[in-house]
């Protein structure tokens, strides 16, 4: 094929967020010829939006913290649906992954003893999040970016992968895509491909996610023959901005609550006390006095209910608004102004101060913020082997948000950045190892021609719809029908709408030329968004219980039989097929940890 750039590598990493860069660094250090392919410029990945910190039981603030406590918190936060081995590896390895960031230039906030400081966050028993003010994600990305550049790893910026290429025997042969700048096609041939593409938020209308979060990694994996686990679990972060409308969904960090911020309804009442579930009652304060004492004396008081896991808080806010006790713009109030002086707030939460000032003209040192739930994170993702991050397709790996299992039915804040580092490194290691023992033949011209033809199809058609219209309809359907509270009838309707959109997407047309054409880019992203939306809606309809990030109005509360089951999605032609699969069983020595508490 002419009009094609060909490259050969040992390891190709798709995505340049925390997981992708960490995977690339590891693969490179293992001696693999490594490339990173990313849709944006280097350093712009969605990881920069992470504010709170990196959860790691380093014990710098509370020496009694350790991996077992972190493991326990993670499993309980995920309502025991996590893959136990992932949660274990994560808790054990996170401290080392944080320490090595300092060798690469990261500058975390310090304790008085000069160690990395750690902050409190929802669902974590001890102050455990390594952080830099409220811009930890930026620090993580910049550190990994600078390390990647220092090592001389090849980075293909502003390139989109449209297809994972496989050999006759079903193993990985490379990735195919285009350069956004000029629309030309590129082949990265490699025996190992690491997916580190992030999440799916762009299928929802109200989301904290950037345009890159189209679920393309999930979708590419499905098409390549891999499986997805537990796609019904989508995290709605309890505190997104609600006003003005154009910023609806943008994240308000949980650190606001970790640092003393409280939630109030329109009656001025601290409503979270009315929503403490039995499961967490033992460790949650019963009175405002006890909750307030906790900030200064954590040993003798229990945690404020504002710091319950995210799913609990998001549902509570949803109920308050529905009951007519919301704020003027349909959220609730998050108040830190009455709790701390202005200097403290500006020092601890500089980005939030800036964000509200610039985007909403609200001074958070004087007034409360208005907040409400926003689609934030997908717990479900590619089913992987915990040790190697390998998907079911030989040569395909997945790490970070695109991988599933680690967080069970609900992710704790701070566990995402640590997940990226722990499993990014493991994926890079295993990908390099596989590449050492594998060579791949050249990709046949016919295969490339087919991939190119598929990508150019929207230009060939006339008179179809505009991709922006279809995208907006999908976002509305998912937001309204497969959102935070779900019922069978609505999800069935969502699936009907998705089916209709699938047909219409096949006929859409794009205007203009191939160089930097966002209409074309969206046209190619849409099938991915439709495929993951179908996975989410089907899996959510299948799971007849409420657990973590999945709440069914028609099946309230968790059910024991579902507590031992994963829902697995696989591709069935153009559709999605479901199977139920037993959850991996935790060994007795780990199970004991839960009996003690």
């Amino acid at each position: 094929m002419t009009d094609l750039e060909r490259h050969a590598y040992d390891v190709v990493v798709i995505g340049a967020g925390g997981a992708g860069l960490r995977a690339a660094i590891e693969a490179h250090e293992q001696g693999a010829r490594t490339a990173v392919v990313c849709k944006s410029l280097l350093g712009k990945a969605h990881t920069v939006m992470a504010e709170g910190g990196i959860a790691a039981a380093m014990g710098n603030v509370y020496p009694e913290d350790g991996w077992k406590v972190h493991f326990r918190d993670t499993m309980r936060g995920g309502k025991m649906l996590n893959h136990w081995r992932m949660a274990q590896l994560h808790a054990q390895e996170a401290p080392d992954r944080v320490r090595e960031l300092e060798d690469w230039g990261a500058l975390f906030d310090r304790t008085p003893a000069g160690l990395i400081s750690q902050r409190d966050f929802g669902g974590h028993r001890y102050a455990r999040l390594a952080h830099v003010g409220d811009r930890t994600g930026l620090e993580l990305i910049r550190t990994l970016q600078q390390r990647t550049v220092a090592l001389g790893i090849d980075v293909y910026m502003e390139c989109t992968v449209t297809k994972v290429i496989k050999q006759q025997d079903g193993s990985i042969q490379g990735a195919f895509g285009y350069r956004r700048e000029n629309g030309r096609f590129v082949l990265w041939q490699a025996p190992s491909v690491v997916l580190a593409t992030g999440g799916i938020g762009k299928s929802y209308k109200v989301t904290s996610n950037s345009w890159e979060y189209t679920g393309d990694g999930h979708s590419l994996a499905l098409q390549a023959g891999a499986t997805l686990v537990n796609m019904e679990f989508v995290q709605f972060h309890p505190t997104g901005m609600v006003w003005p409308p154009s910023v609806r969904g943008i994240l308000v960090t949980e650190s606001v609550r970790g640092d003393g911020g409280i939630l109030k309804n329109s009656n001025g009442s601290r409503f979270m006390f009315d929503y403490i579930p039995d499961y967490f009652r033992k460790e949650t304060a019963e009175t405002e006095e006890e909750a307030d004492r906790w900030y200064t004396d954590k040993k003798n008081n229990r945690r404020p209910p504002e710091l319950l896991p995210r799913d609990e808080v998001a549902r509570a806010i949803n109920s308050e608004v529905k009951a007519g006790r919301g704020s003027p713009h349909g959220g609730v109030f998050l108040d830190i102004a009455s709790r701390h002086d202005a200097d403290y707030i500006r020092k601890r939460l500089p980005s939030m101060y800036h964000q509200f000032k610039e985007l909403a003209e609200v001074d958070i040192t004087k007034e409360p913020m208005e907040v409400g739930p926003t689609c934030h994170y997908v717990m479900g993702g590619v089913e992987v082997d915990p040790e190697t991050a390998a998907a079911k397709v030989p040569g395909l790996f997945a790490a970070g948000e695109v991988a599933g299992g680690m967080h069970g039915s609900n992710r704790l804040g701070g566990n995402s950045l640590s997940d990226l580092l722990v499993f990014g490194r493991r994926a890079g290691l295993a990908a390099a190892e596989r590449a050492r023992a594998t060579t791949v033949p050249n990709v046949a011209d016919a295969v490339l021609k087919e991939a190119a033809g598929e990508a150019l199809a929207p230009f060939e058609r006339d008179g179809g719809e505009n991709p922006y219209t279809l995208h907006a309809e999908l976002q509305t359907a998912m937001n309204d029908l497969v959102g935070i509270i779900r019922v069978a009838g609505e999800m069935t309707e969502a699936l009907e709408r998705i089916e209709a959109l699938k047909v219409r997407a096949k006929a859409l047309t794009v205007e203009g030329q191939r160089p930097y054409n966002p209409g074309w880019h969206l046209a190619l992203d849409l099938p991915h968004m439709l495929r993951v939306s179908e996975c989410i809606a089907k899996a959510a309809l299948e799971r007849e219980e409420s657990r973590g990030g999945h709440t069914r109005d028609d099946f309230p509360g968790p059910r024991e039989e579902w507590g031992a089951l994963n829902v697995i999605c696989s591709a069935d032609g153009e559709d999605v097929a479901l199977t139920r699969q037993p959850l991996p069983v935790m060994p007795p020595d780990l199970a004991e940890i839960f009996e003690e508490s």
């Binding site: 944006s40 410029l41 280097l42 350093g43 712009k44 990945a45 920069v48 939006m49 320490r99 300092e102 060798d103 690469w104 230039g105 500058l107 975390f108 906030d109 310090r110 003893a113 000069g114 160690l115 990395i116 400081s117 830099v132 811009r135 930026l138 910049r142 600078q146 550049v149 220092a150 910026m157 700048e181 950037s210 890159e212 006003w243 003005p244 409308p245 154009s246 910023v247 943008i250 500089p350 980005s351 800036h354 964000q355 610039e358 985007l359 909403a360 003209e361 505009n466 991709p467 922006y468 907006a472 205007e511 203009g512 030329q513 160089p515 930097y516 054409n517 966002p518 209409g519 074309w520």
Partner: protein, 250 residues
């Protein structure tokens, strides 16, 4: 509430282009990037623009609005009169790719040419120890979102392509200062700052500081102190002799 705004947007590519007029609906609380997105969705589906976070955190959506380098996602429509014509053009200091998207490779090249962070050994227990006051100076510079607005505005390169090879621009001179002030870094970066990255070409006009959306005091806190350290090195022979790679700096 809603009104139609007059927008003039530069459209074209590396071969040329010009301003095009549009009328676009504006609602309460919207920012320029919202209006550009509406323009894409309704009138110009192939209008090229970069963005990611829409919250002033990623530094992707840089452009010039009425001639001023700004982030489109942090520029509220409410700051303009409803009758005002708003002109949006790509960053002038970088070559255009298409419409509002420019080729910012210059910045990545400069980043790559800076000698990497070179830390001292960890303490025996495997930790690094640093005091909060000592990390804060460099932390300020690490707030940088790499929007390159300062690079775009600095007169040393804005209309002087010929200076680009010898001048790293405020963002990367600040990066050198950041490493220089980093408590763990062991390299002496003063000679390189002056000779390889053009610190001497900066005449502290502070235009970079004025456009920085993160409010970083680039000139006062990074460039001027770095200049002072360079002068120290030049005129104090002892420091000059003591400059060895791997040695703790003063």
């Amino acid at each position: 509430m809603a009104y139609e705004a007059s927008l003039r947007v530069w459209r074209g590519d590396d071969e040329g282009g010009g301003l095009e007029d549009f009328l676009v609906e504006v609602n309460e609380g919207e920012v320029v990037l919202d209006i550009i997105h509406r323009l894409q969705a309704t009138q110009a589906p192939d209008l090229a623009v970069r963005w990611n976070c829409k919250a002033g955190k990623c530094g992707s959506c840089s452009a010039e609005i009425n001639g001023r380098p700004r982030l489109m996602c942090l520029t509220r429509m409410g700051t303009f009169d409803e009758e005002e014509v708003i002109t949006i053009t790509p960053l002038r200091a970088f070559p255009v790719i298409r419409d509002l998207v420019t080729d910012v490779w210059f910045n990545y090249e400069k980043a790559q040419s800076i000698p990497p962070f070179t830390p001292r050994e960890r303490d025996e227990d495997g930790n690094h120890r640093m005091q909060q006051v000592d990390v804060e100076r460099s932390q300020e510079f690490r707030k940088c979102i790499e929007c390159f607005l300062c690079q775009d505005t600095c007169h040393v390169v804005r209309d002087h392509e010929e200076n680009k090879p010898s001048f790293a621009g405020p963002r990367f001179l600040m990066r050198i200062a950041e490493l220089d002030m980093h408590p763990l870094d062991t390299l002496d970066r003063r000679r390189a700052a002056q000779d390889d990255f053009g610190l001497g070409m900066c005449n502290i006009t502070k235009c970079c500081t004025e456009v920085c959306p993160e409010g970083i005091k680039i000139t006062d806190n990074a460039l001027i102190p770095m200049k002072e350290r360079v002068v120290d090195r030049k005129y104090v022979p002892k420091t000059w002799l003591g400059r060895t790679i791997g040695r703790r700096k003063d």
